[in-house]
């Protein structure tokens, strides 16, 4: 994500570009290396499933809340999954209070698309009574500290929160009354679609950009890889790429998937 209002100083631009042309990055990482990932455990929310994830200095908190309600008219045989991102004003001096702006909406949709297109959550299994009553899962993605690459951090945190979610079972009585039971069921994650975000600086592809790299980048793209190694979603953001660059990005992402998927499984 690039916020056009961010003041990008030419000095920073030159500095980052010089480093890249010498094969280096500002935090000393390799071009295709993720920052360290840390999961904070501590019952931070009242959600049915949650994950507080730190990707370097980027911190996100994702909560999955469940509800029961009517399905959408055009999908009576499917439950509901709703994704929402809040770019909290405490996460960055450039974020302002108010309803989600285009950046927040884009990020939420990029995460949602990866999860949906890989069919990671079997939404058919959320049906209680077809056409009448289904589980509704709300994926609320909270950005706490913004140091670049929200897409990948939020996708990983969302998968962990979904994988951890324990949702109360309900029973529909003969008179139509709904009883919430003590017993719980777990969301079955059928796939682990992970987003990989690259920025292009001086013709090089850099995985998992920090904020400064996002600010000075020529182009940005996010690709999701599923367990079969397929690309299940792509979002090109600003700038332009050649076909070779995108194919290259996909093969780097594919080679990184097993390691990242392992981390997510471990956290669940």
């Amino acid at each position: 994500m690039l916020d056009s209002e961010m003041l990008t100083h030419n000095l920073l631009r030159e500095y980052v570009r010089d480093l890249v042309s010498n094969g280096q990055r500002i935090d000393g990482r390799g071009f295709h290396e993720f920052r360290s990932i840390e999961i904070r455990n501590g019952n931070f929310t009242k959600a049915e499933g949650e994950a507080w994830l730190k990707l370097g200095n980027t911190q996100v908190l994702v909560g999955v809340k469940a509800d029961v309600g009517e399905p959408f008219l055009d999908t009576p045989d499917k439950g509901v999954l709703i994704s929402n991102t809040e770019l909290l004003p405490l996460a960055s001096p450039t974020f302002e209070p108010g309803p989600p702006n285009e950046n927040a909406i884009e990020v939420a949709r990029v995460v949602d698309r990866a999860i949906r297109s890989a069919d990671a959550v079997d939404i058919s299994s959320l049906v209680i009574i077809e056409g009448k009553l289904v589980y509704m899962l709300f994926l609320d993605m909270y950005v706490l500290d913004y140091d670049g690459n929200l897409e990948d951090a939020l996708t990983m945190a969302s998968l962990i929160a979904l994988g951890r979610a324990e949702i109360p079972e309900v029973e529909v009585k003969e008179d139509g009354e709904i009883e919430v039971k003590e017993s719980k069921w777990k969301v079955n994650l059928k796939d682990i679609p992970i987003n990989f975000t690259f920025v292009k600086i001086g013709g090089e592809l850099l995985l998992d950009p920090v904020l400064e790299e996002e600010q000075v980048s020529d182009a940005a793209i996010t690709l999701a890889i599923d367990k079969e190694g397929r690309i299940c979603s792509i979002q090109k953001k600003h700038g332009k790429f050649t076909m070779e660059e995108i194919i290259n990005a996909a093969s780097i992402a594919r080679s990184k998937w097993p390691e990242m998927a392992e981390k997510i499984k471990e956290a669940i």
Partner: protein, 251 residues
């Protein structure tokens, strides 16, 4: 329909003053304060209080937008209290509601008297409070965290503002009401003080109290707030470390 059943306890407080979570009337829940946990904010703090988990961050003094809000002789103080959608048993719709608008105001008015606003003419100090998990007493927990975040941001202050709620359950005046007492108790009184001068900067009451009960509540409040103030100072003196304490014998 939410997947949540509210259970009212049979007894809120026993005759000998034992509460639904086992505390005595004058006891606080466990509290933990962490300062400086966010990278991009100028100052930040995290407070865990009972089941509450609340983040506060401060930005500023910085340029005011929109420009017509500029105060030529002092800093503008803005406060936003916000609850996460996953902070409550039933999902809360994102965005401000009437309650959070009011709380943002009273919290701003609790903190502002502590800040040397005249030191920062023409600028703004933004205070953001995010309730990640709520469990009764979020506004007072938020005030404690915000006060720490202000100090962590290096804002010149007359002193720290500490806060605690007091409540009434039947004939008992209780310190730091829990969820059950918040829901079914008889009165709730959040208060905040500038401890350096023992001046009250936030006081609200919801529910009836006799004059005698009110006096008792004020005294119990002050005692608890002093305890929180000592914790705040310790949290600030050990920056980037955790101060943790559970209270057995009362504050």
């Amino acid at each position: 329909m939410p997947l949540y059943v509210e259970k009212k306890p049979e007894v809120l407080i026993t005759e000998d003053g034992v509460r639904t979570d086992g505390r005595k009337p004058y006891e606080l829940r466990p509290i933990r304060m962490t300062v400086g946990i966010l990278d991009k904010a100028d100052g930040s703090a995290f407070i865990e209080w009972g089941g509450n988990k609340i983040l506060a961050a401060v930005f500023g003094p910085r340029e005011v937008h929109p420009k017509h809000l500029v105060l030529p002789d002092k800093a503008l103080i803005r406060t936003r209290y916000n609850m996460a959608p996953f902070s409550t048993p039933e999902r809360k719709r994102p965005g401000p509601d009437r309650r959070s608008v009011e709380l943002s105001k009273v919290i701003r008015e609790a903190l502002k008297p502590a800040i040397f606003v005249e030191n920062y003419p023409g600028s703004v100090i933004d205070i953001f409070i995010e309730v990640l998990r709520s469990d009764a007493g979020t506004r007072v927990a938020g005030v404690n965290a915000a006060s720490l975040a202000l100090a962590n941001a290096g804002i010149a202050m007359r002193g720290l503002v500490a806060a605690c709620a007091v409540g009434r359950v039947g004939d008992f005046v209780v310190c730091d009401p829990n969820h059950d007492e918040d829901m079914w108790g008889d009165a709730d009184m959040p208060m905040a003080m500038l401890m350096e001068s023992e001046e009250i900067t936030l006081l609200q009451i919801d529910g009836p109290m006799t004059e005698e009960q009110f006096r008792e509540a004020l005294n119990l409040g002050r005692r608890s707030i002093r305890f929180l103030y000592e914790m705040q100072k310790e949290a600030l003196k050990r920056p980037y470390q955790v101060v943790e304490r559970s209270v057995q014998g009362g504050a």
